[in-house]
Symmetry: C2
Subunit: 261 residues, 2 copies
């Protein structure tokens, strides 16, 4: 394994750019996975790794040493802990990074199953958490409007905990076009006039769930696509949920109803 | 309103310390609320504000000007945008801060209602989101083990979105002592042997919910208190949820069952 000790090394500069710049990730066509859990999830999903990067501390951990052994064909480099922290996309470096190609966008098609639409969700932690929840709930398709954070950024990937590898993510989606002729309910969450209680809805069929940015909510164009507005009943004094918490409540209410059915 | 333009001003140094140091917050007995939403939530809950701090940009926003007008008795200072960004506890300064006293810990007592136990939840965003969800679900009591992040830190407050003001938070709780003689179910979430499906449980009664740190899960000592382990059924390929998402699913399943009952 090649050891690098200088910040001026071109490989270090390239990793730093992938970690910190959405533009560089797009122009290079690559992104970074941070941490052993995410790297293992990618391997388990058959995702090709282009390069592995380990720190001193990382090399000392059995979990990471095992992963490196499992990937003998993948070029690997070794950074000092300080250099690793410099290139790491997160505050608490995990000791292992993998470089992967940004996936080819999935072909658009006429959607006929339940799916998720995220409109302007910019917080990386929220976005990744929602993708993880969607994957756990058995969703396959997620449409993201141009106002969303880059779904394949290292921070969103980290929060997604492997959910990305089980989903088809349609970034920069023109939701109005993609949902033309959608055969199911299209549900917005919110307090609008005529909103129906989540637990009174029949969610066993096909549902496109619309979630907007916190604060701003759905854009007018996306909200206009909804066939119904649902409200999560909140008995407490606080009357709104974090968007990722709201998505978890809604998607798992659908899971529950389908199990009962 | 007094205008401050120097980083060396003692008031600026004190605000910076409150924003960035848990130790300074404890020794001063104060903390910071960031943003108009949180300041309004504190006011609505009758929480006394000690001081208000606005930036140039903040003063230009009607929402913040209205709040300042509502708080005529509270000392207010004005910082340049650069100074405000320097003292702000968050990456995207909101233009308004309020200084509040750290609350006196609520008196411990024999708990007889549903409550939440958080064990070693260190991520500020997750912790705040869970508190917001708990408040929305109508919970009142939250027990936090010594391994949790400081519940009244500015970042947890920000993610809590006002939930703090509706809850009794028992920090550094000795959970084993506090749950002695607890009259309800004590439920851990996880995949342990004998775990029961969430949707098969009767949650209409009194439940103490135990949630642990992501990755590590519950400590042995807290897990040992559980009367049952519940698992959230996940039809997808991803088999775990973010702890805040899991808490949302569980607490709102209890909300649902109680509504149906």
């Amino acid at each position: 394994m090649k050891t690098i000790t200088s910040r001026d090394n071109p490989a270090v500069k390239r990793l730093h750019a992938l970690a910190h710049s959405a533009r560089d990730r797009r122009s290079e066509g690559r992104t970074l996975l941070d941490g052993a859990h995410l790297v293992r999830a990618a391997l388990d999903a058959g995702w090709p790794l282009r390069e592995l990067v380990a720190s001193d501390q990382g090399l000392g951990r059995a979990e990471i040493a095992d992963l490196l052994e499992r990937c003998t064909g993948v070029p690997a480099i070794h950074l000092t802990d300080a250099l690793f922290a410099h290139v790491s996309p997160v505050d608490t470096p995990s000791g292992l990074l993998a470089v992967i190609d940004l996936p080819v966008p999935p072909p658009t098609r006429a959607f006929a199953e339940s799916l998720l639409v995220l409109d302007g969700v910019q917080d990386a932690g929220n976005l990744g958490t929602i993708l993880r929840t969607a994957a756990a709930a058995g969703m396959r398709d997620v449409l993201l409007t141009p106002g969303c954070a880059q779904a394949w950024s290292p921070r969103v990937l980290r929060a997604g905990m492997g959910g990305h590898f089980c989903l088809r993510l349609y970034e920069h989606a023109d939701v109005a076009v993609l949902l033309q002729g959608y055969p199911g309910q299209i549900l917005a969450t919110g307090l609008g006039a005529g909103a129906r209680g989540l637990y009174e809805m029949d969610l066993r069929g096909t549902v496109a769930w619309l979630f907007g940015a916190e604060g701003r909510g759905l854009s007018m164009a996306v909200a206009a696509l909804a066939t119904d507005t649902v409200v999560i009943p909140m008995p407490g004094a606080v009357e709104s949920l974090n968007v990722a918490a709201a998505a978890a409540v809604c998607l798992f209410e659908q899971v529950r109803q389908r199990r009962v059915a």
